[in-house]
Structure formats: C-alpha cells, structure tokens
Symmetry: C2
Subunit: 383 residues, 2 copies
C-alpha cells in the first residue's frame, strides 16, 4: 500500500459497464442473449478520436490495468509498470481502454453470471467463447465509445493472441499492433499443461459438474493445483533458482515429512490458495480452452502467412529469452508469417530472467522498446 | 505381446526376495524393524565373482528390468532395450542384479507394507527413506549374494543418483559407475513439480491422510494428476509436438466443450488412469521426497567436488539434448565436480528428441556409447 498514490500513476480509477441487449452470435455456433463488458479508461480521447489504445489482458487478468480503486489498495492494476503519465503507454498522450473479456469472472458476462433462461448461474451451460468472440465484443465497445480506429491494440500472452485476431478481423480499425510474449497457437505441451489444470478442477469432488455455487462450495483444491502448475510455467527454471534455490523455509533442516520444507513449496501453496479467493474455476476452464483453440493458420491449411494476408497494421512483436511457455521461437513464427504476408514488422527478443512473467515486469530494455515504438505510434496518429 | 519371446531377451525370469530381520537405521534418524528387497538376476556370476552389475531404477521403476514373467506378458522389463544377450548390458558376460528400493510398492518394504507394531499398513507412519538408505540396503543385498565389488553400478534419472551415492559411500565396492540422465540435486523447478504432484495426491479426499486402504479406496484422481504432470516433464516440447502436434482425436473438429479434443489430452488421461492401477500413492510421495532431499554437496558447503572426494570408480556420465527435467547442464555439473575431484570421467551428450524418457529408449548413439563403455568394463574386470 503506497502512503500516497505515486505521481506517475493514473491515480484513482473506476470501472464502467457496457451492456448489450442484442444476441451475440459466437464462433462455436451458439449465442449469448446479450452480455456485459466491464472496462476502464485512462487519459482523454482527443478531438479527432485518433489517440485511443486498447489493452488486451491475459488468462487471469482483467479490466483493471492501471491505477487504484482506493488510496488504501494494496496493489494497483496489473500493468501499472507500463501504463500511466510518462510511462511507455502514456496516459497523457493516449486514451487507454481495457475491458474484461466474456467468459472471465471480473464483471463481464461469464459462467458465474445468471443465465436469464434459468435464473441460475450458467456454469458449464455457458457457451464456449473464443479469441475471435472477444475481439468482436471489443469492437462493439469501440463503437460504443465512438472509436473508429485504435491508434494501437496491445497485449501480452493471451492478450497478444487478441492483438493478432484484431489485426486479421478488423484490418481497418487499428493503426498499430503490439503482440508481446505471444504464440500463433499452443504447442502440444501447452495444451497438455492446460488439460492437467482442467482435470485438477473437474476431478475435484466439489466441482459438481460446474454447479458448485448451487452447493455453496467451490473446487478449491483443483483450482489451487491449476494455479500452482501455472506458476511453474510462468517462471523460468533460472528465475526459480534465483528466487528460491533449494532454500529451506526459515533455514530449517529437513522435516523428513510432507510439510513445507523448501521455500518454493511455501510460495506455490500460497499462490494456489490465494488465487482461489479471486478467480472462478469455471472461468479458468473456459479461458484455457480458448487458448487451446486459438489457431488462425488452421483455416488456411496451416499457413499462418495466409491467415495474416488481411493484415494492414504494422506490428511490433516482443519475446523474452527465458520464456518457455510462449518461447521466442513462437514469436519468430509470428514474425516470419507477418513478413511473408508483407506486413511491416519489428521484432525484439528481450534478455530477461523471469520467463513468461517478464511481460508484466519493468525490465529496462523492454520498457525502452515499448516507449520508442509508442513514440512512433503517437507521431503517426497525432496522439 | 510377442508371439515368441525374442532371442535377444533374457527370457522368462522370476523375482526373488531378500529378507532382513535386523533393524535398519535410516538417514532420517528413525529405523525400520527389518525389511524385504525384491530383486531379479540375469546371467551367471563367474567364479571370481567379478562380473556382477547392479542396475538402479527410477521413480516408477522396479526390479523387473528385463525379460518376461510369462510368455503372454504384454510388456517385458523396463530396460529390455539395453539388457539381454548381445545387448549393451550383455547378460552373456555380466551377472545383472536389479532390486526394487524400499519405500516403493513393487514387493520391497514400503508404506503399503504391514507395520509389525500395529498390524496395519504403514501409510504415512512409514519412515522417510533416502537415496543413501537405498544404497545401504543394496550393499546388504550384495553381501547376501557374495558380491564384494560390482563391475559396474548403472542407473538412469533417480537411478543415476543412486550410482553417485554408491561411488561416494562404498568407493571400494564398485569398479565403474554409469550415471545416465541424472542430476546432482533437484532444481527449484524440479521440487516445484514434485510438490504439485504431492499436493494433488494429498488434497484428494480419498487420501485419508495416507490411510486410504483402511477405507478400501485410493486417491485415484490425485495420483492420476501426478502422473499426468510427470509425463509432461518426461517428454520434450519437441517430442510432444512430433508425437501429438495439435491433432484432434480421430481427426474430429472441436467439441467446444471440455471432453477430449486433442490427442495429447487422450494420451495424458490414459497415462494417468493406468498408472493408478499399478502404483501406490504413498510410495509416490516418499520417492519424490527422496528426490527432493538428494543433495550430496549440501554437507560440504555446497561443494560437489568435495562430496565426490572419496570416489575411486571411473564414471561414465550420459545426458540427452532435449531432457529438460534433468538437463545436460546438470550432467555437466556432475562431470565438472568429478573432474575436479580427480575422478576418471567420460561424458557424452546424446542428440535425442525424446527428452528425459530417452534413457529408456533404444537410441543408436546411446546404445553404442553404453556398449563401448561396457566393453571396457568387461575387459578390466575379466567379465
């Protein structure tokens, strides 16, 4: 908790809701009878509406990208390092929008919302949502805000997949695309980790086929395990070694039992149990499935460059050297396909120790690359 | 199921039991009131007892390293590719011994055995066992078999840790040491994976604090999850891509649900559920903890070469290029410490696609390296 809100923060913020009454057709063939998007905005939209930037969040993220809800908040938004006055995504220049995607659990419509047909939470009756569906709802939000064309669409990890989808589906509605620590599709290993996480949740006896709220419980054990597995894949082997090594908790000798001996065990158990308090298990299932399914090349006989043929916006692609969840190799696949599709693309691999988590951290070289690119965006868009 | 047992197999085998009535003091400070080691032997001990080779198994392995129990057996022993007449570990030259370690569940004393004090299965009252304890019991078996000095002690993964422990604790009792796909200690990431596996088992409501047999059940969900996680780490990202890619099961289109869509999901679910039928959950806890605790350098202020100072036996160290569980970097740490300790050491990194699992597979370069080294062993020991 900062004693005062830092001057380089967007400061106190509030969320807003964009509620749509019309039916939303979905990629899976089903539809949603209306939906809500919860979102936040920072900065000021300029007169010619040319300075708007859309941020796309990752698996466990939300619309609260920057600032504080109250001065007492222990933590600011998830991208506070990058978003704010004078920061790389500068709220003095840009009008910055971030919305929680549908299927999540932070205020937008998702499996924990009430199904109007039954008056009960949707649970697993919620229709499958995809990256394409998210982008469509974000475009509706842009219409609502009067934003015909984003100066840039920016996202990391799963957010980077939304950036690609935006550039493919609405080529005339973004001037620049910035995809960070992203992948053009999950590998078999990525899918395997997601599957184990889902099995952990779905095999928890408190899951009740997704109707756990009806039983006034939740699959705590399963969701906690899923988060623990996730955390291992977000950090590099090297980052874990630097952070924890083989240190025992409190420097004690081995217990020769199954309680916590090592610091890394303590860390994981904490991450698992605290996540359960702030995230919905069904949302975890839906979002990991959306990750599995994302594969724009599939509709083009596996040709990513063919999938990218509609793209007009110049791209900045950023990867991190120790990211083994979405490795630099995956980013280079994106870059090569963009290049083959004739897209103006810049690429940087940042030397960073923190694995996939790096995209959330204030790594100087990363900050500098983003700052320089967004200077270009501001110049070209009059922001 | 082979229609006939192949000629290059050790053929039909039977296990034997070595039962010790005396109390076994353990590294943890507790002791076992006697124990059983189940083991198998292939080949013939020569007159001067100089041709005996000890094989050390890994986490889910056992004493059944080669051959068949019955002609109908669907699968031979776990190291059939390497062990047999004319194979790299040649049963025509060597007398080959493999024992199941205590704490496991394949016939040697472990948490599923009866605690003589209570007349009930030990469960979590079983004392913690370590790599050092395993080696001590194997030395007792050597005494029992009249083997004063092994021509070689050989093991992969956790088996490689036993090889190192043998060379440190009984320097005069082995002529050669072969450590394959091993590590001088687990990294924080390794411990983290083990911890998630243990949490999966221990948080299963059917675990009953390890007393599940009393309730006529077992923690199927938890053990299955543990095995699924293990399998992801045994295979390289590349091997998974080659084996499964993003293929959907039966080539079908997406279900837009949470049943199996991808081949890799089907594979993992099968691996998980079949493991539950053949492995004890408590043993999984004990063995992963023994892995966590192994760290010979710790008693020497972190100096592995100091820990290795007692070693006399020449070493062959083998690693595999795509092994990310116990990476080549870990093997090189072993090699450097052996070299610094003045030990005669040979090292090979095998180019192989299959990750950690490679040590079980008939990879030509790997087979050739083992064959050549074991020729040397045979020559020096008169085998």
């Amino acid at each position: 908790m900062p004693s005062a809100i830092p001057e380089d923060s967007v400061g106190l913020v509030t969320h807003q809701d964009f509620t749509v009454e019309e039916t939303l057709p979905l990629e899976c063939g089903r539809s949603l009878p209306g939906y809500n998007l919860r979102y936040e905005c920072y900065g000021t939209l300029n007169a010619d509406r040319s300075n708007a930037v859309l941020l796309c969040h990752a698996l466990s993220g939300d619309h609260h990208a920057a600032g504080y809800y109250q001065p007492e908040d222990r933590k600011p938004g998830w991208w506070e390092h990058l978003v704010g006055p004078g920061k790389p995504i500068d709220s003095r220049r840009f009008f910055i929008v971030c919305s929680n995607f549908i299927g999540s659990c932070k205020g937008s419509t998702g499996p924990a919302s009430i199904n109007p047909e039954t008056g009960e939470p949707w649970g697993l009756d919620f229709p499958m949502v995809t990256v394409k569906d998210w982008v469509r709802t974000q475009a509706a939000l842009a219409d609502h805000l009067g934003i015909g064309c984003w100066a840039a669409v920016i996202g990391g990890s799963l957010g980077g997949m939304q950036v690609m989808q935006w550039a493919m589906d609405y080529p005339g509605r973004l001037r620049h695309a910035i995809a960070i620590a992203a992948s053009p599709r999950l590998t078999a290993q990525n899918i395997a980790f997601n599957e184990v996480c889902r099995q952990a949740i779905m095999s928890d006896p408190d899951f009740h086929e997704g109707r756990y709220s009806h039983f006034d419980t939740k699959p705590r054990r399963g969701l906690s395990l899923a988060r623990m597995i996730g955390h291992i894949t977000y950090l590099s082997d090297d980052a874990m070694r630097r952070k924890f090594g083989r240190e025992t908790r409190g420097g004690k000798s081995f217990s020769f039992g199954f309680d916590v001996d090592f610091e890394v065990e303590s860390y994981l158990r904490y991450q698992g149990s605290s996540f359960v308090e702030r995230f919905d298990a069904n949302s975890y299932l839906y979002i990991t499935r959306a990750l599995d399914y994302f594969d724009p090349a599939a509709a083009f006989d596996g040709s990513l460059s063919a999938a990218f043929a509609s793209i007009q916006a110049p791209f900045l692609v950023v990867s991190f050297s120790t990211d083994w969840r979405f490795s630099p190799e995956r980013s280079r696949e994106i870059v090569q396909a963009l290049y083959a599709a004739g897209v103006d693309v810049s690429y940087t691999e940042i030397q960073a120790q923190h694995g996939h988590d790096s995209f959330l951290l204030p790594i100087p070289q990363y900050m500098a690359v983003l700052r320089a690119y967004l200077d270009r965006v501001a110049e070209e868009t009059g922001a």
